[in-house]
Amino acid sequence: MKKVYSRPKSLKRNHFHYCPGCGHSIIHRVMTELIDEMDLQDKAIGIPPPGCSVFAYHYFDVDMAESAHGRGAAVATGIKRAYPEAIVFTYQGDGDLAAIGTAETIHAANRGEKITAIFINNAVYGMTGGQMAPTTLSDQKTTTTPYGRDVKLEGYPIRMSEILALLKGAVYIERTAVNSPTNIRRTKKAIRKAFQSQIDNLGFSLVEILSPCPTNWRMNPLESWQWIDKEMTREFPLGVIKDITGEKNAD
């Protein structure tokens, strides 16, 4: 009998602790498939953040080290500079990458660090219970914007990928989502491209993934998938934001 589907080798045999309908498990799956396909298990080093995915090391069967909130890009810089043969990725949420870790992220990208950031944008702080994130949409209700995000007081949803695309050190940036089979396939393709740009030593790469958080959005999984299409992608349009990987020669 031909086996057409199985657990990725680099995905540990642990049950996901994530909520029903959460995007993390899908993204973990996609990433570990890629780690297998690209033969990265013995050189990948992952940096998960504080947050729901703090336990990512229960699932990724690669070397991993926890980072302080927001410091993923700096930790990854230290690892990559000390051991350039590694394929280093950070796994960061919107609060982590676009609020407390803005400086680390922007400067790692600007230095063109050969690292890959997997940026999970779910428009809320998940683990702490659904507070406003830098990417929370205008008028969106969260536990700290109970009357909806007032852009006059709380600012606008921040488009981190577009900001990072302005930096010369960033070579590949794409925004995808995991709310449909098509989008999941696109996500996988984007992460493959990002990893490849790191393998080719081109510069900083980032994939922003719009990911559902049904628990904190107070929706069921289907509604949350639809909400990404209907609301989130209006503020955060999907697609390749920057790709200069073709322009540079791999060295």
């Binding site: 013995d42 080093i45 926890e66 230290g78 690892i79 000390a82 680390e104 400067h107």
Partner: protein, 350 residues
């Protein structure tokens, strides 16, 4: 050579392969030295980070990858680094952190001060941990202790702080380096370098089981006990017949030494105990002296921090006086001599 440059050269000779820093006075010459000398070495990296927070986290990353790594700063910048130091301590990772301290609190002054004693010796960041703290009092000792710091960090898998001050960093003195830089600095065997030929490795502390974290704390503190036993270091000066013992560290000890020499000339039986390791504090040595004399004068360039460790060590047995100048004021040897004489005569030690 300036103290700052001496630390840089000694670090390179100790096999340091990663330096990550952010400019702040009075330690910029160290960052500049590493930019000029470390960055050109094969397999070594220098990054001027976007902040002290980023710098210490780069140190954390480089240490994860198994190389000897360091950062340096001065008081306000060291405050920012505390987050990373706590993570290093928790994850049992070696690192060397240099604090060329200056007057505080706040932005303070850029003049030499010793007001970071508590911060350095009590862990400094959140959680229950200690760093080994070394306090040099000359440029030569800065170089020697830098080498020792890297060795201690590796031996005990612990962050080590070199607590200097602005004056030590800025001043020049002759210095001799006792080691040559290694051709191939060793990589720590428990490094994160990809799961090649071994199971994947996780470096973390976060756990939802308090008992697990309790066990980590216990294991850290068992190691701290070992460090106390093996590594506590102090210097003594003219203590044999001393009736008054001055306790001082770093640059203050150096000033006190000058005062004590003059006191001796005047016939006062005064000696000095200088802790070289501030943590672990040489409590045993202090207690030993209490068997011979009752009187201790603690002299610090702060409002009185180490004096608490002296009192704790004495367990009420001696009489402890304190003299301090905070804010970056550098007392003169003659000023300290006046304080010594005053206590000496007041206690009827003549």
């Amino acid at each position: 050579m300036t103290g700052n440059s001496a630390v840089g050269e000694a670090a390179i000779r100790a096999g340091c392969q990663g330096y990550f820093g952010y400019p702040i006075t009075p330690q910029n010459e160290l960052t500049e030295y590493m930019a000029a000398h470390l960055s050109r070495r094969r397999g070594c990296s220098f990054v001027q980070a976007e902040s002290e927070i980023a710098a210490i986290n780069m140190v954390y990353g480089a240490s994860l990858a198994g190389v000897r790594a360091m950062t340096s700063s001065s008081s306000p910048g060291i405050s920012l680094k505390q987050e990373g130091i706590s993570y290093l301590a928790a994850c049992e990772l070696p690192a060397v952190i240099v604090n060329m301290s200056r007057g505080g609190p706040g932005l303070g002054s850029i003049s030499a001060a010793q007001s970071d004693y508590f911060q350095a010796t009590r862990g400094g960041g959140h959680g229950d941990y200690r760093c080994i703290v070394l306090a040099p009092s000359s440029v030569q000792e800065l170089a020697d202790l830098t080498h020792r710091a890297f060795d201690l960090a590796d031996r005990y898998q612990i962050p080590v702080i070199i607590l200097g001050d602005g004056m030590l960093g800025q001043m020049m003195e002759p210095v001799e380096f006792k080691h040559e830089a290694p051709e191939e600095p060793p990589v720590r065997s428990n490094a994160l370098r990809g799961a090649k030929g071994r199971p994947s490795r996780i470096i973390k502390t976060f756990t939802s089981k308090p008992t697990e974290l309790e066990e980590l704390n216990w294991s850290l503190f068992r190691r701290y006990q070992l460090i106390k036993k093996e590594e506590t270091t102090c210097e003594t000066f003219l203590v044999e017949d001393a009736e008054l013992i001055v306790v001082a560290f770093g640059i203050a000890a150096r000033i006190a030494k000058g005062a004590i020499k003059n006191a001796r000339t005047a016939g006062l039986r005064v000696g000095m105990l200088r802790p070289v390791t501030l943590w672990p504090f040489p409590a045993e040595a202090v207690r030993e002296f209490a068997k011979r004399t009752k009187y201790f004068l603690v002299f610090e360039m702060n409002m009185g921090q180490m004096v608490e460790d002296v009192r704790l060590a004495l367990e009420g047995k001696g009489e402890v006086f304190f003299y301090g100048r905070p804010g970056g004021v550098i007392p003169t040897p003659s000023e300290v001599l006046r304080v010594i004489s005053r206590h000496y005569y007041q206690e009827g030690l003549r």
